[in-house]
């Protein structure tokens, strides 16, 4: 029986966010929006879901007078991503 894919990561936008963060030390909300092509509203919702699951940490600060949101992957997020990729390999033809 094939292992179940983590439903939290098996969503195009959430997986895209996690994939960017796995290769980055940190990424700005604006960068994530441009890279994924998502709308700000949808991205905010998906980021919040990942944060609630403990997969990412979100830091809000100010760049001059402009608010800034920075995301970082957590160790739990790294493990979840590794498990997801491992499970994914079982679905691919060998």
């Amino acid at each position: 029986m094939l292992p179940e894919l983590d439903p939290l990561l098996h969503s195009q936008l959430r997986l895209a966010v996690i994939s960017i963060l796995i290769g980055s030390d940190e990424a700005d909300f604006v960068f994530l929006r441009k890279a994924t092509g998502a709308t700000a509203g949808n991205l905010s919702v998906q980021i919040e879901k990942l944060r609630e699951a403990g997969y990412i940490s979100v830091e809000k600060s100010f760049r001059g007078k402009m608010p800034r949101t920075t995301c970082q992957i957590t160790p739990e997020g790294v493990t979840a991503f590794e498990n997801y990729v491992e499970a994914l390999q079982n679905y691919l033809p060998k």
């Binding site: 098996h10 936008l13 997986l15 290769g23 940190e26 700005d28 441009k34 990729v85």
Partner: protein, 245 residues
């Protein structure tokens, strides 16, 4: 983007997104390379000219021009502050390269400060030895060894000889930092600049006994600043503007 998708699409997303964030030098870094490139090239060129036109021992005052390098510090700080404000993503390579350049700066400062300190010991030693024409006294001042004196003329050159190793040593460090940065970001002009610095080190060490070694060293510093910093800096700026366009 849709909420659910196939396993193949899933892999494609991972690959595409990982590629998005990797191997790009931070926007504005070209200006940092240009700042240091033009500073080193300008100072070394001016030093070469002064070494040629100034008469007698006064030509050595040309080296005081290198103190102008401190001007780069505040300008570098302002440029980096602007880059950090505009930074949207920080990759692990960015983080590693930050520490490579910090290590490069510390290495340069350590050598320069060490040699300046050694010169501070030479000045009083030379004065004392000249006053008595006593080489033994000179060594006693420098090494505190209490060796016996002999009445021979003081050879100033041997006490300044260590400074001749500064330009090749600097270029060796330039080579390391440029090569690593170029390879890490996959930017060919930078690592080629590093290789040019290393080849220059070989030439400078081979010509260290040449009568015009001082001028040769300054010319090579200028050449390496152009090859390793100025050309890659302009190419980076061009790349950035074409990326934006």
């Amino acid at each position: 983007m849709e909420n659910t998708f196939s396993e193949k699409e899933s892999l494609a997303v991972i690959r595409q997104m990982i590629d998005t964030a990797k191997n790009n030098l931070q926007q504005g870094m070209g200006k940092v390379f240009l700042l240091w490139g033009y500073l080193v090239a300008g100072i070394s060129l001016a030093t070469t000219i002064l070494l040629i036109i100034l008469p007698g021992d006064s030509r050595y005052y040309a080296y005081f021009l290198w103190f102008l390098m401190v001007l780069g510090g505040p300008l570098h700080y302002l440029l980096i502050r602007k880059i950090e404000r505009e930074r949207l993503v920080k990759t692990y390579i960015d983080k590693m390269m930050h520490w490579v350049w910090i290590a490069f700066t510390i290495s340069i400062l350590t050598v320069v400060i060490g040699l300046i300190l050694s010169s501070l010991f030479i000045y009083p030693a030379l004065s004392a030895a000249e006053a008595t024409n006593d080489v033994g006294q000179l060594f006693q001042w420098i090494f505190m060894s209490g060796s016996a004196g002999t009445n021979q003329p003081v050879d100033h050159f041997q006490f300044w000889f260590q400074w001749l190793f500064i330009p090749p040593f600097m270029l060796c460090l330039y080579g390391i930092a440029l090569f690593i940065t170029g390879k890490a970001y996959g930017f060919k002009p930078l690592y080629l600049g590093g290789i040019i610095c290393w080849v220059s080190v070989l030439i400078l060490l081979a010509t260290i006994h040449h009568p015009h070694v001082l001028e040769i060293q300054q010319i090579f510093l200028c050449f390496c600043a152009i090859a390793g910093y100025i050309i890659p800096g302009h190419l980076l700026n061009k790349k950035e503007s074409s990326d934006v366009a």
